[in-house]
């Protein structure tokens, strides 16, 4: 058999096979199969040279090698935690990696069960009755929550209230989802990095359909009055949507206990590591809203032998059946990322997960205390408990401090003229001493 030397290395077949196939089809050549009128036929070149596997790998290595090697103390919605080897190993198995949506459940029990277990973990963490198989990321999950508020009969009104400090990217994505159904998105005030409950009360009226809050907040502060936020939303028949992540949920107040109706957030805090913002949208809600949930759901059923088996369920909510009346347009989701999150949770176990969450509090507390001793810095800015990250005041312009830190090999967020934000986890903790030395030099 003669291997073809040009063309796709991922398409089997030699010249004899091709000839036999063309003969069977009844055409002289492959080009005869393309039923494309001449005026729109493409006769040009893309101008992309083929490369060997080795050369392609080198090209990517060389290109990405132009990034500066910085130790990041960054968060604000995208977090780095150590990912155990077991996660990579198991999630890379081809049976998971190269499969697709489980339209044929009999041959996809493995992934279905893993997703069912992921859903179950989120149900345990949030205390809410239903979690889906994933949205794209925290921001799009928040957008989906906004559209959900319009489908829930117990909710009236259409205004959506978000904290004034909400990350701009999240607010823009929420705005995109709110635009179609014409839902105004408005801000309520925050104080010391958490909800200003009096300000929220002033902003609330019966036209509000949804109140969004985060715990921890975008600046790392832990909300002291979440139950008040829940009560306020409830008083005005608005949905209370809470943003969080699976590590914080293991330690902080359980969303169901503070009246949350929906929990959204970044499940990718576990199982993923830093990936230039690639995430996994966590979406959980109360059982009452089951039939309004966006995205895929795995449920338990029985097979013909009477054994327990898993299947996608309540698919009549989805676009491939309900079309323009679907709860969302989502089809492809982040299933493999959800699998990774689930394996990471399972690897940690309950003690390991709660310990990791506790470390997020103490690491941030300790680093803030050390930075507060540095001349030219004050930390934390907000008088709150913190989770992973906190803001620090810089006497020097913050942009200059951050730029100088870059030349020392570190990256932080600039969040104000004289304010930086610093995130510390198990991933960058070994670099904390060097970081404190560096910032003492430049602050």
């Amino acid at each position: 058999m003669t291997r073809r030397t040009r063309g796709s290395p991922y398409a089997p077949g030699d010249a004899d096979d091709t000839a036999a196939m063309l003969d069977a089809v009844g055409v002289d050549g492959v080009e005869g199969l393309f039923d494309i009128p001449d005026p729109v036929r493409f006769d040009g070149e893309f101008g992309i040279e083929p490369r060997s596997e080795r050369d392609t790998r080198r090209l990517v290595e060389r290109t990405l090698g132009r990034n500066d090697e910085l130790t990041e103390f960054m968060g604000r919605g995208h977090y780095d935690h150590y990912v155990p080897a077991l996660v990579d190993d198991l999630a890379s198995r081809q049976e998971f990696l190269t499969s697709y949506t489980q339209y044929q459940p009999e041959v996809a029990q493995g992934f279905l069960q893993a997703l069912f277990e992921y859903q179950s973990m989120l149900v345990e963490l949030t205390g809410l009755g239903v979690a889906n198989c994933s949205m794209y990321d925290a921001a799009t999950a928040l957008g989906e929550a906004a559209t959900l508020s319009q489908r829930v009969r117990s909710v009236s009104g259409d205004r959506i209230l978000v904290p004034d400090q909400l990350r701009e990217g999240k607010r823009e994505v929420l705005g995109a989802y709110a635009d179609g159904p014409d839902l105004p998105v408005e801000s309520y005030p925050t104080a010391e990095g958490t909800v200003d409950t009096e300000g929220l009360a002033d902003a609330l009226d019966d036209d509000v359909s949804m109140v969004y809050a985060e715990n921890p907040t975008v600046c790392g502060a832990i909300e002291p009055e979440l139950d008040t936020v829940g009560d306020l939303a409830d008083d005005h028949e608005a949905l209370f949507v809470l943003g969080s992540d699976p590590i914080a949920l293991a330690l902080l107040e359980r969303p169901a206990d503070v009246g949350a109706d929906v929990v959204v957030g970044e499940a990718s805090a576990l199982g993923a590591g830093t990936a230039y913002g690639m995430g996994t949208g966590l979406f959980a809600t109360r059982e009452d809203f089951l039939r309004q949930v966006p995205g895929r759901l795995v449920g338990v059923g029985e097979d013909a032998t009477g054994r327990r088996a898993f299947t996608l369920t309540l698919q009549t909510r989805e676009q491939h059946i309900r079309k323009e009346r679907a709860t969302s347009n989502i089809c492809t989701n982040q299933a493999l990322m959800a699998l990774r999150t689930a394996i990471h949770v399972a690897t940690l176990g309950p003690d390991g997960l709660v310990d990791l969450a506790g470390d997020c509090v103490t690491l941030a507390r300790d680093l803030a205390a050390r930075l507060d001793e540095v001349s030219g810095l004050r930390a934390p800015v907000n008088d709150r408990h913190h989770f992973r990250e906190f803001q620090a005041h810089t006497d020097q312009p913050a942009a200059a401090v951050a730029a100088d830190l870059e030349s020392e090999g570190f990256a932080v967020h600039v969040v104000g003229d004289h304010r930086i934000q610093v995130c510390v986890t198990d991933a960058n903790e070994p670099a904390v001493d060097r970081f404190v030395d560096a910032i003492a030099e430049v602050a």
Binding site: I36, I48, E61, Q109, V173, R325
Partner: protein
């Protein structure tokens, strides 16, 4: 239970691994080991800020390795066998792209300064350029995290364009054979959907189109080749009708694997399109995702692209992020599914012009060859990367279940609805002639079987036929719901 199996008589046979336990298959994690821990006690936080307890699976690493390995054995992927799931382009995913995506240099935070991530920005700019050339578009955003998110981005761009022109347009026109996402996307973006019936030949009916479009038309969403695998031969006339009415032409890129190097949406008159990189550019489907859905636009629409966009600086000294003048804002919290995009870049750079063109040629040849070898009727044609066979008197869903016993992931079933008992089949370029012959034998064996056999299928998969109606009647969606 497998003792009652009637072995299939032809084609490749298949027995999926099956781990069974009391009343079920592999036990749930919690059924092997679960611990409830008190959370407040040793916490570094005051009691009123913490939850009380947490109960999660508590297994040792070897137990987890075995659990997930067994689950994987009860799951079917592209490397397991043929996966001709129509419109999903389940092609082979090159292994080296996994290694490339795992390079430590990919792991940077999205808020890093542009100056410190020049390599990342350069790779983004290069991929934008590759995709623009492949689609015949002028500018491309990589931000949308999936095909449906790409549709949402593209339709929002169309809406912003009309709004900038002071043009109030309320409708999006979509052929009845289109993907369900098209309808859902248009509705999410606030448009009324106008459904366009197909012509006798399965393509766009020009007269119906002329009647459907007008001053209210914001866009026509079109898949080409369409879901029947047919190229819309009248695409120039279609574009003219839509453009004359002041609407935009949107290209659903789900079927782009049919056209690489043969035709480009930009040359056909499309103004905006999305690419499904997990289909056309071979990134793994991951059991449902993540994918990526970059969007390409003409020069006229470039100023509406999501922010931040990436470009070479004017003095060419480096790459920068910027906000396009009339940007629709963001459609993902950060920059989309970056690690998927890295894989797509590597795939395109590996194949180049010749490889991409060959991929499409082989995909189209494979579909045509398979269609020529099976006993099921295949209406319509000539088709490209996929065809829709009809199961005729058989129930397509039952036929699909039986195909599982022959080691074939079945086609997409009962859709598009314009073919009775549809079996929408897309073998992709990943199958050789021998594999296609096996596939044809499996189709034919199933075609010859009686309804009782089909209804009893599958027999050789991990689980037997699952009652989905019952599962939906009383939904049990977490292990908590299984407790008595």
């Amino acid at each position: 239970m497998s003792g009652e199996d009637t072995p299939p008589e032809a084609g490749t046979l298949y027995d999926q691994a099956r781990w069974t336990d009391d009343g079920g298959y592999e036990p749930l994690l919690t059924e092997t080991g679960s611990t409830e821990v008190a959370v407040g006690d040793d916490s570094p936080l005051p009691d009123d800020l913490t939850r009380d307890s947490l109960e999660l699976p508590d297994l040792a690493e070897p137990e987890l390795a075995r659990h997930y390995t067994r689950l994987s054995q009860m799951n079917y992927g592209v490397d397991s066998g043929p996966f001709p799931l129509g419109s999903c382009t389940m092609k082979y995913n090159p292994k080296f792209t996994e290694q490339v995506a795992a390079l430590p240099e990919t792991a940077v935070h999205p808020d890093r300064s542009a100056g410190s991530v020049q390599g990342t920005l350069e790779l983004q700019a290069e991929l934008q350029d590759y995709l623009a050339r492949i689609g015949g578009m002028d500018a491309v955003t990589l931000q949308p995290p999936a095909g449906a998110a790409g549709e949402f981005t593209g339709i929002r761009i169309a809406a912003a364009y009309h709004e900038a022109n002071g043009d109030d347009r309320t409708e999006v026109v979509i052929p009845d054979s289109a993907h369900g996402t098209n309808f859902a996307t248009a509705a999410m973006a606030g448009f009324d959907v106008v459904e366009l019936p197909s012509a006798e030949d399965g393509r766009v009916d020009l007269e119906a189109l002329e009647a459907a479009v007008g001053d209210d038309t914001a866009a026509l969403m079109l898949t080409n080749p369409n879901t029947l695998g047919l190229f819309e031969r009248d695409i120039e006339a279609v574009a003219e009708v839509v453009h004359d009415a002041g609407g935009l032409l949107y290209y659903d890129g789900a079927n782009l694997n049919a056209l690489l190097g043969r035709a480009r949406p930009g040359d056909m008159g499309f103004d905006v399109m999305h690419y499904n990189v997990h289909k056309t550019f071979a990134t793994p489907h991951g059991g449902g995702g993540p994918g990526a859905g970059p969007v390409g636009v003409t020069a006229e629409l470039a100023e509406f692209l999501p922010t931040p966009h990436v470009r070479l600086q004017a003095d060419e000294s480096g790459y920068e992020r910027y906000e396009p003048a009339k940007s629709i804002g963001k459609v993902h919290g950060f920059s989309g599914n970056w690690l998927v995009l890295v894989r797509a870049f590597a795939y395109i750079a590996r194949l180049g012009d010749a490889g991409l063109a060959d991929a499409s040629a082989r995909a189209v040849l494979n579909a045509n060859y398979l269609a020529s070898q099976i006993d099921y009727e295949v209406p319509y044609g000539p088709f490209h990367h996929e065809f829709v066979a009809s199961a005729g008197d058989q129930d397509a869903a039952d036929a699909a279940k039986r195909m599982l016993d022959y080691g074939v992931h079945p086609p997409t079933t009962k859709w598009p609805e314009i073919v009775d008992e549809a079996l929408m089949t897309e073998p992709t370029e990943a199958e050789g002639k021998g594999s296609l012959d096996d596939l044809a034998a499996a189709f034919d064996a199933v075609a010859a079987e009686d309804d009782a056999t089909l209804e009893a299928a599958p027999e050789r998969t991990a689980a037997r036929r699952i009652d989905q109606v019952n599962a939906a009647r009383e939904p049990r969606l977490s292990w908590h719901s299984l407790e008595d």
